[in-house]
Subunit: 354 residues, 2 copies
């Protein structure tokens, strides 16, 4: 009703008001009161008081006592791209539906920062940690292990905790194949030296994708030169420079382009800003990531949508197990043809339409 002073009501306040002991109040308000054989009328009295005084439990106190916090963490490399932000969105919904509180943090793909961030989360006694796209999942594992925190790797696998990742090899094969096929009814079919891969670095995902790319390329086009693979890291800037360098050297872009991630794709955007439309006339891009806007660019863009919903679902399933096997679970990604607008987590949010 009224919010009386400035400070929040505690069980002690309610204890005084109700004439019961603090432990009774506690039991009533955390739902264990039947187990503690509290009279129904007492419970009701206290519940009413709690409501009137807008009582909410101090979760730090509860967490301290329980050495659990109700927090579930998701560690991301970055927020600022559709793959991870949509993962965050899905994660939140999932965690909420389990009655816990989601905490999403990013660590910039920096091993130091990853460890520091996780250490902080552990200090808040988070209950579980989902480690997505960590550069050094095994060190993170060591921290979690020492703190007894259930954890699981997503997107990039570790060797010490169960991992759920997208099937990068298969995905890369699908994507590479789709790029090549796209040229089937073109006047000039794609030659091997016209199909390049840009982006990524020496992480598991990149390696698998490169392998898939190489294998299909060899199968379908008969060969693959290592020169056709340019791991430029995960920065738009370096990727742009790589494109500029290529263009400088060759006077044109490759006709077929496998781009390792949407972040690398942004490097191509930067390149595009510097060059006229015609530069991209005969281009087909395959991007290992899905971005709705990216799908509608002026040239055909084939994308891979990683199934982060399924990855998270599997991860939640595993983390619930008593002693999940330390193995890698592959989730199949989806090939997305050009000019496709997929539904996303936002579609389950109700708006004025609902």
């Amino acid at each position: 009703m009224k919010q009386q002073g400035k400070k929040k009501a505690t069980i002690y306040d309610l204890s005084v008001l109700s004439g019961s002991s603090a432990s009774t109040v506690s039991a009533v308000l955390n739902g264990t009161w039947r187990k503690r054989r509290i009279k129904e009328s007492t419970a009701e009295l206290i519940q009413n008081l709690a409501e009137q005084h807008q009582y909410t439990a101090n979760l730090q106190a509860r967490g301290l006592r329980n050495s659990r916090s109700g927090l579930v963490g998701l560690l991301l490399p970055v927020h600022d791209n559709r793959y991870f932000s949509s993962m965050a969105q899905t994660f939140e919904a999932q965690v909420r539906s389990h009655g816990k509180c989601p905490v999403v943090v990013s660590a910039s793909r920096d091993p130091q920062e990853e460890l520091a961030t996780v250490a902080t989360l552990i200090s808040y006694s988070i209950d579980e940690l989902f480690i997505a796209g960590a550069t050094d999942p095994d060190s993170v594992h060591t921290l979690c292990e020492a703190a007894g925190i259930r954890h699981i790797n997503i997107d990039l696998p570790g060797t010490k905790a169960p991992s759920v990742i997208s099937d990068n090899y298969q995905g890369a094969r699908m994507l590479t194949q789709a790029i090549i096929k796209r040229f089937d009814d073109s006047a000039a079919p794609l030659r091997p030296e016209e199909l390049f891969l840009f982006g990524g670095r020496n992480d598991h995902a990149s390696r698998e994708r490169i392998k898939g790319f190489r294998d299909i390329k060899t199968e379908m086009l008969g060969q693959n030169s290592v020169a056709c693979i340019q791991p430029t890291g995960y920065s738009p800037n370096m990727t742009q420079k790589a494109f500029e360098a290529f263009y400088e050297r060759e006077g044109k872009l490759p006709r077929g382009l496998f781009i390792n991630s949407s972040i690398n794709f942004e490097g191509l955007l930067r390149f595009m800003a510097q060059h006229p439309h015609e530069t991209f006339a005969d281009l087909v891009v395959g991007c290992y990531d899905y971005d709705p806007f990216g799908s509608f660019l002026p040239f055909p863009v084939i994308m891979i949508r990683q199934d982060s919903e399924s990855m998270l679902a599997k991860a939640f399933e595993l983390i619930e197990e008593a002693r999940p096997a330390v193995k890698i679970h592959l989730i199949q990604p989806e090939l997305v043809h050009p000019r496709t607008a997929l539904k996303g987590p936002l579609d389950s949010i109700r708006d004025i339409d609902a």
Copy 2:
């Protein structure tokens, strides 16, 4: 060195190991030891022990004692779009640089969920809250107020706490003007009934944008009919339906399209997926939001980049003030011409290039 058992070391463990009292250990490890006149050698001893045993403070315990947590919250409507995810990215960096721990949560633009989420954050004794894009900032204010939590509105203003928002009116004027000008050297200049606004609803931002749109349209094209304004909410799906309905009715799209947000723009994407390229031949889109991929679509897309960095910087400045005035601070957004790839928060992340 070794991580001994399973449980984390506490000041009591270190107290025993060092032969000092827990309060001394505490003082040493939280930096207040000079104030407490602890001998330097004692401090060193304890610090070494702490390091050896990988001591980290239990932040819940500290938070309980201090009734502060070191957590700083950012409440978002959704993660899954570039405006908010890049805000999250910037926010994290800022909070980290203040030595605090960022917590980003989303509430789906649902007033109920906003309140529930904030209540949870308050229960964890977060120190400060940045409320971005809340549908009901004033109710959130009431909660924060009652809990004595410093807070500030971003993106959508409230009437009870200081607000930092983008200058939606000016931005909309710039954007509308740019759309119209884009037709200047076209064969047929844009007529008023060819310029529509889609998206948004009855929030402050939408109202301001609609006002800016209407004013410029009247100024430059001589009139504006209310029929040219279609607030479809913030869902891709409803926006798509609105486009379909329009197309059904008119047999074409408007030549000039002001789209209220990138989320609404995704509605246009869905529409695009259903219609051939030609449908968009003579189209100019202005979108009140910036998305790098959106900037490179096959038709001219003029975008407004809201300056979330400046908004956050201003917000941090205000929240630090003792009693900031309850007023609205406007931050100028930036007009982004078609085919422009701006730098973003990711560019300050070092990669293998750094």
